[in-house]
């Protein structure tokens, strides 16, 4: 709302120019610090069927990019792409009650399928589609 007298705005401005040691609650994180690097994002991980010594029965593929999500979902969430709307509420409630309410979790927002071609015990050949196997994107939920 429009501020009737500049004083409060002045105050608030003053306040914002000083380091706010006191207002740093336990859940507070400085967003300009190196913490950003632990922001929620996708990490690559490859499951190699060859490394598992399965190339005698799995014809294709040689493996698949499983990937996983890791990192913090901290306030303000606009620093994290693909946060769900609810994650913003979760973050705010976490800020008010950090000991009891967890931050939003960093989880996949886009999953892709893969197909695997393999022999069964009777040397029949099976081509099977597996849904939700590859993480293509992560976000705060």
């Amino acid at each position: 709302s429009a501020n009737p007298n500049g004083k409060r705005r002045q105050q608030s401005r003053n306040r914002s120019s000083q380091p706010q040691e006191s207002s740093r609650g336990p859940g507070h994180t400085d967003y300009n610090s190196s913490d950003q690097k632990t922001a929620c994002r996708r990490h690559e991980l490859y499951v190699s069927f060859r490394e598992l010594s399965w190339q005698d029965w799995i014809i294709a593929p040689e493996g698949y990019a499983a990937n996983y999500c890791d990192g913090e979902c901290s306030f303000p969430l606009n620093a994290h792409m693909n946060a769900t709307n609810h994650a913003i509420v979760q973050t705010l409630v976490h800020l008010m009650n950090p000991d009891n309410v967890p931050k939003p979790c960093c989880a996949p927002t886009k999953l892709h399928a893969i197909s695997v071609l393999y022999f069964d015990d009777n040397s029949n050949v099976i081509l099977k589609k597996y849904k939700n196997m590859v993480v293509r994107a992560c976000g705060c939920h």
Binding site: W54, D121, N122
Partner: protein
């Protein structure tokens, strides 16, 4: 030897193991990945020759059709398979197969378990039998389409300009020493000179075999000239068990999962 788990940017994630996995850890890892693949144990196929026969090649074509993003990787394997054979056979999977594929969750090819080439006395007709074991199908899978595939080579010698009548039957009964009771599935005219894969729709038959395995008595084919003379399928150019391994007959079935396969919580 990279049994380590690396983060994609090659920085080793602090919580990951920094050493070669021990045997039991590797076995645990295998168990976990097998559970993701929905397999109770790792299959142990006997692949003396089976690895390079027509069914894996056909299935590789289907795989190639499905997973374009992995296409370059599979081409490598596909070329390796195809380099095994002198003849670069015609494309195996047809447009119809690709259509079946879109609607399927799983495709399975079955090797021919038995094949009797009954060279009977001339007045009784020749026939060839095929048998497929459909009992290994995972629970809850329903057959949405099934094909019997047999390769026809060009017959240049004795029957040059002949036209044949190929008939495919489902064996529905029979007693030893007597002709089997047959149910005609399809009859098709073939030119002696034509070459390539013949596909016969056996969806209904496969469903019967899946629902009641005791009725799985296999298929039978027989060939006649238009003048009614019974000839052996070999003389008609049909490739059997003793033909080139990449042209041997097989069956393929497309499945749709009945209920979503949810892994039991562990």
């Amino acid at each position: 030897g990279s049994n380590y788990l690396f983060d994609g940017n090659n920085e080793v994630h602090p919580s990951f193991v920094h050493r070669r996995l021990r045997t039991h850890e590797k076995r645990e890892m295998q168990k976990e990945i097998l559970s993701i693949l929905g397999l109770p144990h790792r299959p142990r196929p006997h692949l003396s020759h089976g690895k390079y026969n027509s069914a894996p090649l056909f299935m590789m074509d289907l795989y190639n059709t499905i997973s374009n993003e992995e296409k370059n990787e599979v081409d490598g394997i596909l070329d390796q398979y195809k380099s095994m054979f002198t003849t670069q056979g015609p494309p195996l999977a047809t447009f119809q197969d690709s259509a079946f594929l879109n609607d399927a969750d799983m495709v399975m090819s079955f090797v021919n378990l038995v094949e009797y080439d009954r060279e009977l006395s001339p007045e009784r007709h020749h026939h060839k039998e095929f048998k497929f074991n459909l009992s290994q199908i995972p629970e809850g899978e329903a057959v949405t389409a099934a094909e019997f595939r047999i390769y026809k080579e060009c017959v240049s010698r004795s029957f040059r300009n002949e036209t044949f009548l190929l008939s495919v039957y489902q064996v529905v009964g029979g007693r030893p020493g007597r002709d089997a009771d047959l149910f005609l599935l399809e009859s098709r005219r073939l030119w002696a000179a034509e070459e390539g894969w013949l596909e016969f729709d056996i969806t209904a038959t496969s469903n019967v075999w899946v629902m009641s395995p005791d009725h799985n008595l296999g298929l039978q084919i027989s060939v006649e000239t238009l003048s009614g003379q019974s000839i052996s399928s070999k003389d008609a150019g049909l490739v059997g068990r003793d033909g080139a391994i990449e042209r041997q007959p097989f069956m393929v079935a497309f499945f749709k999962v009945g209920e979503v396969h949810v892994r039991s919580p562990r």
